[in-house]
């Protein structure tokens, strides 16, 4: 069979496959999302198998390049169309929220434990040190920063609170700043986990320094009633991001029976669920921090109550939600 015969004999099939693909891809000249049309899936599968077969034949017989190129492009398009991701957006989201995220956190419990320990111990140590000697906080923070923290929670702080626009400004700031910190905790884990440990410890030290200093100055109630609610989401999210980074680093250090690259890719795939959770929790935390924690008309006792409820909610959710689901 000459290439010309081959081409004339099978062009109708290729043409049909191309038509099916056009309808399936629904590519529009303008507009980002495709408008897909229904096609006969069984027919598409059989046409695809034929084009695979023809491509293999054309290559084996060293047919002219224009012919193999044409078949190559056609087969590649059909391959993408057949194996494309068929997600059901909202259903995936529900599944991930009810089962995927808490299960992934529990599957990484060892990493979460290490991340929690690093973060909590550095916070505590720095907090105690700064409580005993408020001047010690200057070893980490600039004097201006320390003064501004004192001003934020001190008795002489503006007690009327900010206007609504200020809340929004802080919301935007918390979103940008906190989520970037969490992403840093995760991504720097690629350097054998050292980066994650560093950022966890660094953020722990910062938090500890501020808390210790403010407690020593006697601003404890203003400070703790401010942070207790959103901390449930914010600190948990930072720790989870650090744990995901540690998992990435550990996969490179101890890949087990896989190559380092395989282990890394698997770790990245399995921790991506954690990252969705981290972003979600930090958005909740930013909203709480901007609109609830800063509300000065709420009595501290109420905030402690709400904070306790949030902590129970978060720990209960991560610890028990989605247990029996398979």
């Amino acid at each position: 069979m000459t290439p010309l015969h081959f081409e004339t004999a099978y062009t109708p099939l290729w043409q049909e496959l191309e038509d099916v693909l056009l309808r399936l891809e629904g590519r529009r000249k303008f507009g980002l999302l495709p408008r897909r049309q229904a096609v006969d899936a069984a027919r598409l599968a059989s046409l695809y198998r034929r084009s695979c077969e023809h491509l293999a034949l054309a290559r084996a017989r060293a047919y002219p390049a224009h012919l193999t190129d044409r078949l190559d492009a056609l087969t590649q398009r059909a391959h993408q169309a057949i194996y494309r991701r068929q997600g059901h957006g909202l259903l995936d989201l529900k599944q991930g929220l009810l089962i995927g995220l808490p299960q992934a956190v529990r599957a990484h419990r060892a990493y979460v434990a290490v991340a929690t320990a690093v973060f909590a111990l550095t916070t505590l140590a720095m907090g105690v040190a700064c409580y005993l000697d408020p001047g010690f906080s200057l070893s980490l923070l600039h004097a201006d920063q320390v003064r501004s923290y004192g001003g934020m929670y001190g008795d002489d702080a503006v007690a009327i609170g900010r206007e609504a626009g200020g809340d929004w400004q802080m919301f935007g700031y918390y979103i940008m700043n906190n989520i970037s910190v969490a992403f840093q905790c995760f991504a720097s884990g690629l350097f054998l986990g050292v980066g994650s440990l560093f950022y966890l410890a660094f953020n722990g030290l910062l938090g500890g320094a501020v808390a210790g200093y403010l407690t020593a100055r006697g601003y404890g109630e203003a400070f703790y009633s401010f942070v207790v609610t959103h901390a449930a989401f914010e600190l948990t999210a930072i720790v989870i991001a650090g744990a995901a980074g540690l998992r990435i680093g550990h996969s490179l250090l101890a890949p087990g029976r896989q190559t380092r690259l395989q282990a890394l890719q698997r770790a990245a795939r399995e921790t991506s669920v954690l990252l969705y959770g981290v972003v979600g929790m930090l958005v909740i935390a930013a909203a709480l921090e901007a609109f609830w924690s800063s509300a000065r008309w709420v009595a501290p006792a109420v905030k402690y109550g709400a904070g306790a409820a949030c902590w129970v909610l978060v720990i209960g959710y991560l610890g028990w939600q989605g247990r029996h689901a398979r």
Binding site: A65, M176, L261, T271
Partner: protein, 214 residues
């Protein structure tokens, strides 16, 4: 598919077909990055002007937009059917999985978050070094996510066939001696031609085959 000479990447499908992908190198990707950077900067300036009049509320919204442009912009565009940010699209690039399939949400998130690691210690140094060391030009984020940045149009690397066809096209205009002289240069193409006397008829046969007539 001579992997030693070119940087083509072969992805095998479950049907046993080898699909050939052409990974994009540092320069093309830098251009795409620069275009995206300009677009992002433009959007940021425009939104800061528009939101500047709205006071602190505007500042808050601006910070959220800044965050979205920094982190969500690449993810959102890579998950659209084109599989590429506007900058990559302009350079004729797209992001695919190692299997040649469109990039998955998890992979897109991972590769874009790990840009932080690629950025270290300064100005994407690790990313550029990593791309330079690998034949498939993957940066650290691509390695972890199992993704690949490829050219959308397939490679056209069949110079050998084109040369033989062009030679045959000039057969009528050249003297037989000159034709033979040129054909001898391509002696390696038709296998076993070295044993016969004249290479011309054999190579003309190859040209016929390449044109699909034999």
């Amino acid at each position: 598919m001579s992997a030693a000479l070119d940087s083509l990447f072969t992805a095998e499908t479950p049907e046993g077909i080898a699909l050939v992908l052409r990974p994009a190198g540092v320069v093309a990707r830098f251009h795409a990055f620069a275009i995206d950077g300009a677009i992002r900067l433009g959007l940021m300036i425009a939104s800061s002007i528009a939101l500047g009049v709205m006071g602190r509320f505007g500042t808050g919204v601006f910070l959220i937009i800044y965050f979205a442009l920094e982190w969500l912009y690449p993810v959102v565009f890579e998950l659209l059917p084109a599989g590429a940010t506007p900058g990559k699209r302009a350079m004729g690039l797209r992001v695919v999985m190692d299997s040649g399939l469109p990039v998955t949400p998890a992979a897109s998130v991972v590769r874009n978050l790990l840009r932080v690691a690629d950025f270290m210690p300064v100005l994407y140094a690790f990313g550029v070094v990593c791309m330079g060391l690998r034949a498939d030009f993957k940066r650290l984020g691509d390695l972890a996510a199992g993704t690949l940045v490829v050219y959308t149009d397939a490679a056209r690397l069949h110079g050998e066939q084109a040369v033989v066809v062009a030679w045959a096209g000039r057969a009528a205009r050249l003297t037989p001696a000159r034709l033979e002289e040129l054909a001898v240069l391509a002696r390696a193409v038709p296998a076993g031609a070295a044993t016969g006397a004249a290479t011309t008829p054999r190579l003309l046969g190859v040209a016929q085959w390449l044109l699909g007539k034999r």
